[in-house]
Symmetry: C2
Subunit: 129 residues, 2 copies
Amino acid sequence: MVAEQLKSTRQRKAVSNILATITKFSSAQEVHKLLISRGEKVGLATVYRTLQALAETGAIDVLRNDDGEALYRACSTDHHHHLVCTKCNKTTEISAPEVEIWTEKIAREQGYLISGHTIEVFGTCANCR
Amino acid sequence: MVAEQLKSTRQRKAVSNILATITKFSSAQEVHKLLISRGEKVGLATVYRTLQALAETGAIDVLRNDDGEALYRACSTDHHHHLVCTKCNKTTEISAPEVEIWTEKIAREQGYLISGHTIEVFGTCANCR
DNA sequence: CTTTTTGCAAATCTTTTGCACTCTA
DNA sequence: TAGAGTGCAAAAGATTTGCAAAAAG
C-alpha cells in the first residue's frame, strides 16, 4: 500500500485554500458551503473525499464533535493539542511536552505500548467571557 | 429545568445490567445486540434513549470513536481519564491530578475559562502485545 | 492514452422522532 | 390516573459509493 500522490486539481486547491483561511475546526458540510458561497464549484462528495485524503496524509487535523461530525482544520505539523472555545469555536494550539512525558509514564505503568493520545481542553476564551 | 428522576423500568435495568458486565466502551447498537442475545426484549430506540439519559446524569461515560459513533461504558464517578487498548478495546481508568493542574495552567495563560477537558491515551495493552 | 478525480444521485448507517400504547409511582 | 417510558417504523443527517464523464500527467 504505497502512499498515493494526490493530483493537483482545481477542487483540491480550492479546499486547501479555504482551510488556510479558516482558524476553527469545520465540518465537511461547512467547508462545502464556504466554497459554494465563494463561487467555487465543488461537489459535496469531493469535499468529503478531499478532506479525508488530506487528513490521511497528515496535512490537516481531524476531530469529532459531540454530534459525531468530523471537523477539520489546517494544522502545523508538529505534535500538539488543542484548546477550544466552546462559544466561538476558536482553537488555540498548545504544545505540551510535560503531558507527553506523563502520558508515556502512565502507559508504561499499566503495561501499555503507547500509540497515541488525544488531549482537548474546552473552555471560554477571553473574548467570549 | 429540574433534573428529572428516571423511573425504574425493566428495560433500563437490563441496560444497566449489561453495562455492568462490559468492560469496554460499546456502541448503542452493540449494547442492543447484547440485550437481544440475552433474550431481553428492548427496542433499539429505547437503548439509545436510555444510554443518553444515563450519560446525562453522569452515570456512564461517553466517547466518540473514529467513525463518529457514540460509545458508552459504566464508570466510576470521580474525575479521571482513559487508557484504551487499540486491539482489544480494554479500557483502564487513570486519574491524573498532575494533568488537571497543567490543564488549568495552560488555559489561564491563554485567557480561557476552563469548562472541561478530554484526555485519552491509546496503545496496546500487555495482553495484546 | 491511462489513471485519477469529479459530480450526482442513490445507498448506507447511526441516531432521532412521531405517535399510540403500556407501565410506574 | 397522570406522566413517563416504550416499540415501531418513518425521518433525519452525515458520509459513502457506483458509475460514466472530465481532467491530470
